[in-house]
């Protein structure tokens, strides 16, 4: 390779390396802001903001969904398979909301440590399969690949 070309190659390499390093440092310092939601463990341990709106994400515990006043208000428990947080929400739930499904709720904690949600979004998993296959996979002996979180 001619010296002039080699020099340009090195210069480009350094430029890309510099840009990557700068971005890496920037992302590292803003890491917390890039998290879209807090897991229940952070909330129980008091790492989530108090008296402020934030997002809480986790899996709806099977059998925890109830409608206490038979109205629009839904109460359910969210888990990250470590800690649990109770969530209350009044409004229309997305199509994918169901027990055992991941969701992200936007709202704030009340004095009793219950998360009062203003908005509930469903987080679908990365598995795609026909309903019949899902039915055969219901057998707990062989859980679907990637289902364990």
């Amino acid at each position: 390779m001619k010296p002039a070309r080699k020099q340009r190659l090195i210069l480009i390499g350094l430029m890309v390396l510099g840009a990557s390093l700068a971005t890496a440092f920037a992302l590292k310092s803003f890491n917390d802001n890039l998290m879209y939601f807090f897991p229940p463990t952070d909330v129980v341990e008091g790492k989530a903001p108090k008296d402020a709106l934030f997002r809480l994400g986790g899996m709806v515990i099977k059998g925890s969904v109830e409608r206490p006043d038979k109205g629009m208000m839904v109460r359910f428990k969210l888990t990250d398979f470590n800690k649990e947080v109770t969530v209350e929400y009044t409004g229309i739930l997305p199509d994918l909301f169901r027990e055992g499904q991941g969701i992200v709720a936007h709202g704030r904690l009340n004095a009793q440590g219950v998360f009062i949600a203003e908005e509930v979004l469903a987080k679908h998993d990365e598995n795609y399969m026909p309903p019949e296959i899902k039915a055969t996979l219901k057998n707990p002996a062989n859980p679907p690949a990637g289902q364990a979180q």
Partner: protein
């Protein structure tokens, strides 16, 4: 260089010459169109008709057959563009500059399609058109990078200078590519994790995966078609004073 067979070297030298590229691409075009049609028709038939509905998302998941291939292409084209930019900067090959700038509009289109179809998928499934999570935000930044590249190229009159400026912008923007790919693993996002590009086997049923891969191939071939068409316009404009373009204008100018 002596590791590469002489024939290959000669092929690339010929291809780097504008009139040869122009003639060669003209002969290649019908083949590409036929391959694209075959792939797209079988992919769409498999995806929209043969593939079963998803166990949770029903038929709405069929957006995957354009959303995911578009998103893959948006990253792939950016990498091609940046590599072509680097080749243009280092070796000053005119054709590399043309491949770079001709890729930008196709890449921007795929990024736009990925964002819009993702939004149309997110509304019924997640319950929202848009969220500012790491995956969606970094993909939006990619669209702005593409638009910035197109804008910068248009703003500088001398196209060789413009190519250098654009190549530098494209190379700096490369850092965004791994961020988009790994965003769903590095941070909590509303967007789910990878389905196909996983270390263990893909978590998508084979009847749904096959059309997805066919569509991904179809989009790759489409990129080749769109790139060649755009590159030929770019070549003609840049070489407007050379003899082969003048001859072509007299032949095909419809006079």
């Amino acid at each position: 260089m002596f590791l590469v067979p002489d024939l290959v070297v000669r092929f690339f030298h010929r291809m780097a010459s504008p009139p040869h590229f122009y003639a060669f691409s003209e002969r290649l075009m019908p083949w590409l169109v036929v391959i694209f049609m075959l792939l797209a028709v079988t992919g769409l038939y498999g995806g929209l008709y043969l593939a079963p509905p998803d166990y949770q998302q029903g038929d709405s998941y069929r957006i995957i057959y354009i959303h995911v291939p578009s998103a893959w292409m948006s990253l792939f084209i950016y990498v091609v563009m940046a590599i072509a930019g680097a080749i243009g900067l280092i070796w000053r090959i005119k054709l590399a500059e043309i491949v770079m700038i001709s890729s930008a509009s196709v890449g921007a289109s795929f990024t736009f399609i990925a964002l819009v179809t993702g939004s149309l998928w997110g509304k019924p499934m997640w319950g929202t058109w848009w969220v500012w999570d790491a995956r969606l935000t970094s993909e939006l930044i990619l669209l702005f990078l593409y638009l910035g590249i197109i804008g910068l190229y248009g703003a500088i009159d001398d196209k060789r200078t413009a190519s250098k400026a654009v190549a530098i912008l494209a190379l700096v923007g490369v850092v965004n590519i791994p961020i988009i790919h790994y965003s769903v693993e590095w941070w909590n996002t509303l967007h789910q994790g990878p389905t196909v590009a996983k270390m263990d086997k893909p978590s998508i049923h084979v009847s749904m995966l096959t059309p997805l891969l066919l569509m991904a191939l179809a989009f790759k071939v489409y990129y080749a078609i769109a790139l060649i068409l755009q590159a030929r316009v770019e070549l003609l404009q840049r070489e407007r004073n050379s003899q082969w373009v003048k001859t072509k204008a007299v032949e095909e100018g419809g006079l």
